[in-house]
């Protein structure tokens, strides 16, 4: 099984995590919302698959490039 990761494009604060481990997601489904550069940034699933891991929780600060979630497909 191949894996794709959802990464934080910018440093910021996690406002909401829309998925949990085991969820089946479609490409472009919402995965996580981060507040950064005074904007709400929603991160989407890069591929359709199953959420193998969620690495963040709401309220947490993340750096650019941090892995938010791993999706297996």
């Amino acid at each position: 099984m191949a894996q794709e990761t959802v990464m934080a494009p910018l440093a910021g604060k996690v406002v909401k995590v829309h998925v949990k481990t085991g969820d089946v997601v479609k490409e472009d489904d919402e995965v996580c919302t981060i507040e950064s550069m005074k904007m709400e940034n929603t991160l989407y699933a890069p591929v359709s698959g199953t959420v193998a891991e969620v690495k963040v929780t709401a309220g947490q600060f993340v750096q650019a490039g941090d892995v938010i979630a791993v999706i297996e497909y």
């Binding site: 494009p9 440093a11 904007m39 709400e40």
Partner: protein, 534 residues
């Protein structure tokens, strides 16, 4: 072969025999290489090298040159090798009525390998296209370097790279990845203006999986290492992804329609039924009231462009900046726009690289540029600084400062700090700057500004939060609007969103004859070129 006849001074053949000999040679070459390869590919639903050219050119007609070209290697049994057309067909034909030069590598002819004369044919096609002022299209499908030829093959790569570089900025060059293109040969497509990669069959990379495995021990599939995702999404080297070969050729034609044949021409203007002054009421409702809520900038692009059509360039890479071609009142225009729904529309390293090369392409080929701005600034932080955001971000400043084509900026929302220039403003060279009433044009957001200017006051206040809120509000009311910029004349007018298309078309009409002497700075001092941060 026909019989030689004797005469006292030597031998000869009859005319009809000579004509037949030509026909025999020609047929052999036209049948291309290994029938098994041709059959295998046909069964897999792939087109052969000649079918691709027929699909590209109007009525499937093309003028071929160099079909009889042959390598001169004798080592390793190469003296017996039959390689029809040297594994690459060079042809000229019309695309949508305009002449185009192309080559199509033939994988059935010794795997389309790149030897000395294969390379010479390719370089000659580009040289010819440059001299005659017609675009060039390369269809790549090759097993790589023909190692039997050693140094001769190596040298031919150099001719190709130098020729295409000399033609860069003179004629548009488009690469189609319709098969493998691996090894140093992959510099050929990458050094062209646009790369179109067909899914499942087109592969590009500095080395293929086998070489990577033996040299550095990395285990990776061809698709993952060199497929469309590798370059359209990760490396930013594939500008357009095509579903298959036919789609790749169709997209190349669509792209060509936006481009002039060479740098002495303007891009072709077409007739349109879309009224130039069309108002767009839905744009007045598009932006959320809250400045921290994102919106999809592509909706603005398709709303204002002729017939809602937009040909995106690098759509899968650095999505925080949108680049691509649209038409306004029939005129091709390059669009550079922030995308607030991707990474807040921030300008990062990849976005700057993507934008700068697109701007320079448009400038080289006389294509006006329009920006749509909603940008919080260049990205900050140790990661960005150490990755060279200043060096990368500088490319945008260079590109705008050097540009001589009509330049129009539409400030939709945020235009802060360095991104104010990075997305084109008056001081960096814009001819027109129009702002929506929702625009916030200033040096920095109010909370940052207040935290610096009133740091001490806030710190010493009995109620720091209240003081901070008051000062932020004060700064915001004074500066976070389009009017200060308009009062100074940096913004030419504040326009309603629904009038955006009308204003862009008026500006383009007015700038039709804009001319800046190329190759000179405003002081008319000769120089080779500006030293852009690469």
């Amino acid at each position: 072969m026909a019989e030689w006849l004797e005469y006292p001074g030597g031998v000869y053949k009859k005319k009809e025999d000579l004509y037949r000999e030509l026909e025999e040679r020609r047929q052999k070459i036209l049948q291309m290489g290994d029938p098994q390869v041709l059959e295998r590919r046909r069964k897999a639903g792939q087109l052969n090298a000649r079918e691709r050219l027929e699909l590209l050119f109007d009525n499937g007609e093309y003028l071929e040159i160099g079909m009889h070209v042959k390598h001169r290697t004798t080592h390793f049994g190469m003296d017996k090798a039959q390689i029809p057309a040297e594994g690459v067909i060079t042809a000229f034909g019309r695309v949508n009525g305009r002449w185009v030069a192309a080559f199509s590598e033939d994988f059935s002819s010794m795997a389309g390998t790149f030897g000395e004369y294969h390379g010479k044919k390719e370089a000659y096609a580009i040289q010819f296209a440059m001299e005659k002022g017609i675009p060039f299209i390369g269809m790549n499908d090759s097993g790589g370097a023909r190692l039997q030829e050693g140094m001769d093959t190596l040298e031919a790569y150099g001719w190709l790279f130098r020729t295409q570089t000399q033609a860069s900025g003179v004629i548009p060059q488009i690469a189609l990845l319709l098969g493998p293109c691996l090894g140093g040969q992959a510099y050929h497509p990458v050094m062209q203006d646009f790369v179109i990669q067909a899914k499942n069959v087109g592969f590009m990379g500095i080395a293929g999986p086998a070489f990577v495995k033996t040299q550095i021990g990395e285990d990776i599939t061809l698709e993952e290492l060199s497929g469309w995702r590798a370059h359209a999404v990760k490396s930013g080297q594939t500008h357009v992804v095509a579903e298959d070969e036919k789609d790749a050729i169709a997209k190349a034609k669509e792209l060509l329609a936006f481009l002039p044949s060479n740098n002495r021409e303007k891009p072709p203007r077409i007739k349109t039924e879309d009224p130039p002054n069309r108002t767009i009421p839905e744009l007045d409702d598009l932006l959320p009231d809250e400045p921290f809520k994102p919106f999809d900038m592509k909706k603005v692009i398709t709303a204002i462009a002729d017939d809602g059509r937009f040909f995106e360039i690098l759509g899968h890479f650095a999505k925080n900046l949108i680049t691509g071609f649209a038409r306004f009142n029939g005129r091709p225009v390059g669009i550079v726009a922030n995308q607030p729904i991707e990474a807040a529309g921030v300008l990062d390293m990849n976005a700057a690289d993507k934008g700068a090369r697109f701007i320079r392409f448009c400038d080289l080929f006389n294509i006006p540029l329009v920006t749509l701005v909603d940008c919080p600034g260049y990205i900050i932080g140790s990661r960005a600084d150490w990755a060279g955001i200043l060096r990368h971000g500088a490319k945008l400043l260079y590109a705008w400062s050097d540009a001589t084509v009509p330049l129009i900026s539409i400030i939709v929302r945020k235009s802060y700090a360095g991104a104010h220039y990075g997305m084109l403003d008056k001081s960096i060279g814009a001819d027109f700057v129009f702002a929506w009433p929702t625009a916030r044009i200033t040096i920095v957001g109010a909370d940052t500004a207040a935290s610096v200017i009133f740091a001490r006051e806030i710190r010493e206040s009995p109620n720091p939060e209240e003081t901070s809120r008051k000062r932020i509000r004060e700064y915001s009311e004074i500066y976070e609007n389009p009017y200060i910029s308009a009062e100074r004349g940096y913004t030419d007018d504040i326009i309603m969103p629904h009038d955006t298309r009308k204003y862009i078309n008026r500006a383009l009409d007015l700038l039709e004859n804009k001319f800046v002497t190329p190759g000179t700075c405003p002081w008319k001092v000769w120089r080779k070129y500006s030293n852009i941060n690469l």
